[in-house]
Subunit: 332 residues, 2 copies
DNA sequence: ATTAAGATGGAAAGCGCTTTCGTTAGGAGT
DNA sequence: ACTCCTAACGAAAGCGCTTTCCATCTTAAT
């Protein structure tokens, strides 16, 4: 491995000067600059980032901690897009992304591990919040996605508004018996979407029977299936259902079809997320779109500002959602 | 930041002993072990990985370089699953994944950057191969996914076999006019699938007109659309088409429907990959499934062995594919 | 009691880099 | 000719850790 010393020897300058050239310090002569750069080229020198990190206490890495209770990790159709957008943004400023593992050595906690790695910042995606305290109380710049955390920054969609949009749309279509397949209430997003649902139905003067709101778990296909089965089992099934997640909605649609009913003729279904799948299924799913692009980008901006000490106080960014009309809802 | 020195001071042992405890060296007393571990706990000590890496020349990071010509990065429905599986496997051995950016500082080449980061190994996913040389000629342990590289290890599906399976199935269904929407021939996988197609059709004694094989580009939905338009424009359109990728197949199906024809009644379509989408679309897509799980896991195993010096010579692992019958193909 | 062997602990060098602070040389100003 | 300033460069310390090699202290064997 060729080091800064090799360059120094080759150019007959000191390692100090070499380092200065490499870091664009002002007080080096043009001549020195040229010689050093040339030697770097010839010897194929690559700086060692560990050494630099050790000396500067800056790693140029951002830690990513991913939701694991969904089981798919980075293959998640929604979060993978968010993170990709996040990555694109931080890349502009020369940061790399470090995906850390949970079972690292003896230290079980991801937080410890991130600390160990010396990342400059952390983005945590849809954790359940148990770990949140460690991050929010530490000096490590952190941004949460999909979950507001006291004493930390976060960015998430306007979930409540999304729930209201869904209900408004369904109501406008003439539906009055509107059900809701909710996400597990341990998740902030789930709670908010349900809140939007309740708010809007109340606003419209609708009385929603208790059984019309059913827990579908962690936004999974299977959860959607089970929830829909229960809805269909009711003495007075709904004519429309607002499902808090697209995958869950697909499960629901499947059950409806299996019951010999049609979507949207017999039951209208509206989802949430707008994952890539949604426009391809049958029928194409009407849904509340989250702006993954913007969520990723905004969280990157927030985090970068924090890292650079530009924004001292924490803040939440709420990203607008949008109703995407496709064919899974129809007028009554 | 508390360091090994703080622990030494607190326990009245030397940093050497502290280090030995932390690294499970044999020759330290139980007493010392206990005291040190306790101090570690009390002072909230976290080892600094940069320092350790600098001293040991081992980073416990694996670099991931992703295909960019597909544009979606890590949100790719197929590769994200492969990488997730890869991640799960390397996590078992305490490695973290580093996703590096391309435009790092002045050094444009990803390879240089990986070198700079001191990763212990690299997994490159569906690059186009131009960069391959740098990796294969260097000492950096590397494994390629979806592309065999001379002087390097690789793992990929049995693409040729997949192509043959598809044709065999279609043939068995009674089809004789079988077309093929291929991937761009700069990709190894595309070439192999096409090769399988040609081999099988020849085997069956079929004569496939030249226009029956059409380039669909980089496996995109749009590419599939355009290709199918051309196929439909033929004086004698095919009764079945083997599409080299699922997303591309969806585009093809869409065009068929738009033309007022039905899948599979009028035209049978079989895809390749089996992405999550495939089973949800209408009709559920018959396809050749790639074992993403196994591909990811195998490449991890291969890479880890290389890193640990267990396997000197390079090798390719070919992962079997499987025909998944759904409803997009029917007997003639 | 004496010695050898094993167990335990520590000094110090080194990993590759940054950065502070001095030193030197040359040019400008008088 | 002399002083003063500035520009250019380098010595050395330090970042936090590992690891070799040597010193010391026990313990068991004779």
């Amino acid at each position: 491995m060729t080091t800064i010393y090799d360059i120094a020897k080759a150019t007959e300058y000191s390692i100090t000067t070499v380092s200065k050239v490499l870091n664009n310090y002002p007080n080096v002569s043009e001549k020195a600059k040229k010689k050093v750069l040339q030697a770097v080229e010839e010897l194929g020198y690559t700086p060692n980032s560990s050494a630099r990190t050790l000396a500067t206490n800056k790693s140029w890495m951002i830690g990513v901690v991913f939701a694991e209770h969904l089981g798919v990790g980075m293959a998640h159709p929604f979060f993978s897009e968010v993170i990709e957008s996040f990555k694109k943004q931080v890349e502009l400023y020369d940061y790399d992304l470090l995906f850390v593992s949970r079972n690292m050595g003896l230290q079980k906690r991801t937080y410890k591990h991130l600390k160990h790695r010396g990342v400059d910042g952390v983005v945590v995606v849809q954790s359940l919040g148990e770990e949140a305290i460690e991050y929010s109380t530490s000096k490590l710049p952190t941004v949460f996605i999909d979950m507001p955390i006291e004493k930390s920054s976060a960015v998430y969609s306007d979930n409540k508004q999304g729930g209201m949009l869904a209900v408004d749309y369904l109501y406008g279509l003439g539906h009055r018996k509107i059900a809701h397949i909710a996400g597990r209430d341990t998740m902030f997003t789930a709670v908010e979407r349900t809140r939007g649902f309740k708010l809007a139905t109340r606003e419209k003067g609708l009385t929603i029977p208790e059984q019309y709101i059913v827990d579908g778990g962690y936004y999974s296909y299977e959860g959607g299936r089970e929830a829909m089965v229960r809805l269909l089992g009711l003495e007075a099934p709904p004519t429309a259902v607002f499902v808090a997640g697209d995958e869950m909605a697909l499960g629901a649609v499947k059950v409806i079809k299996e019951a010999g009913l049609r979507v949207p003729e017999d039951i209208s279904v509206i989802g949430f997320d707008d994952i890539p799948l949604s426009k391809h299924v049958d029928p194409p799913l009407t849904t509340i779109r989250q702006d993954k692009q913007l969520i990723g980008q905004q969280s990157a901006v927030l985090l970068l500002d924090k890292i650079n000490g530009l924004s001292k106080n924490n803040q939440d960014k709420i990203v607008p959602v949008q109703l995407i009309k496709r064919n899974s809802c129809s007028a009554l």
